[in-house]
Symmetry: C2
Subunit: 192 residues, 2 copies
Amino acid sequence: MQLLEERIMRDGVVKAGDVLKVDNFLNHQIDVDLLNEMGKEFYRLFGDKQIDKIVTIESSGIAIAAITAQYFHVPLVFAKKTQSINIDGEVLSTKIQSFTHKRVYDVIISKKYIKEGEHVLLIDDFLANGCAVQGLIEMIKQAGAVVEGVGIAIEKGQMQGGKLLRDEGLQVESLAIIESMDDKTGKITFRH
Amino acid sequence: MQLLEERIMRDGVVKAGDVLKVDNFLNHQIDVDLLNEMGKEFYRLFGDKQIDKIVTIESSGIAIAAITAQYFHVPLVFAKKTQSINIDGEVLSTKIQSFTHKRVYDVIISKKYIKEGEHVLLIDDFLANGCAVQGLIEMIKQAGAVVEGVGIAIEKGQMQGGKLLRDEGLQVESLAIIESMDDKTGKITFRH
C-alpha cells in the first residue's frame, strides 16, 4: 500500500536489532485518517469472505482493528495480556513471546466472545516472528472457530512470521512488507 | 445518550463493589457501530472547540478514542502503562491508581506527541474516581498543553470523579451517567 510505505519512509525510524519505530503514526500517536485508508484496504482484500468477527491483541492492534471493523460491520474482540492468569474455564488462553519486549505474556479471550464455527479475521499492527498471530490462531482454534485471514499493517519480511503463516495455507495480507532496513543509513526497502 | 443507556440495560452486568461489566460491547468485545454513534455524539458535544489532539489511556480507551478521532480528523495519542519506567527526560509521566485493578501504574506519553499550546480532548471508557483522567490532565499540563474537555462513555455518578473534574471548571461530558446500581437485583438507574 503506497500511502503506508510513503509514511514509513517519512516517519519510520530504524533502530538496531531490526526494530522499526512507527510510534509517530501507528502505535503511540495514531494517524486515524491513515488508519481509515488501511481499514478500507483490508476490506478490499477480505471483504468477499465471510467475516463474523475481527480479533486483535492489546494494545497497539486495537486502533487499526477498530477502524477496520467499521468497514465489515462486525464486532471487534481484543485479546488481553495478563500477569495474573486466572484460568477458570471461562477463557481461551495462550502464551505469547513479545519480540519487542523480550518477554512472555499470558493472553486470554473470554470464551463468550469467540463461538464455535465463527469466521474470524485477525488484524495486527506488526508481524515479525509471528508469535502474536500464532497465539491468536491457537485461541481461535480452541474455540472451534475458523481463521479466514490475517491482515497486518507492517510485516518484517526479513523475519519468518509471514512465511510460516502462508506455508500453513493462510491468506496473510500485509499492507507494507519490509524487505530490508539498515539502522546505520536509515534506509528501508519494501518487498512488492 | 439513549442508545448507550439501552445497551447498558440490556448487556451490562452489575457486580458487587460498584463494578459494572460491559465487556460484551465496550471493553473486550467491542460493538464498533455503537462506538461510531458515540464518536458522533462526542463531536456534537465538543466539535465547536479547537481540538488539536485526542488523548486516552491504554487499553480500553483506545477503540472509542480512535473512532472518535475520525470525526475530529486529528491524531490520537494513547498514554502507555509501564512497569519498567525509564524516565530519560523524553516522556511525560505520572502514576495512576486503577479502580478496577487496585494497583498503581506508571503511565507515560512521549513528549514528542503533546506539544506546548496544543488543545486536547481527553476520551475514556469509564470515569469512576477520576484517577485516570486526573493523571492524563497532569501529563497534558506538564507539556504546557490545554485540556479542552473530557468525553466519557460511562460515568459512575455515585463516585466523585466527575464532580471533582467539573468543580475544576472542566467541560466533562459523559454519554451515560449511572445514578445507582444494585448487584443483587441487577437494577441500574441513570442520571439525566
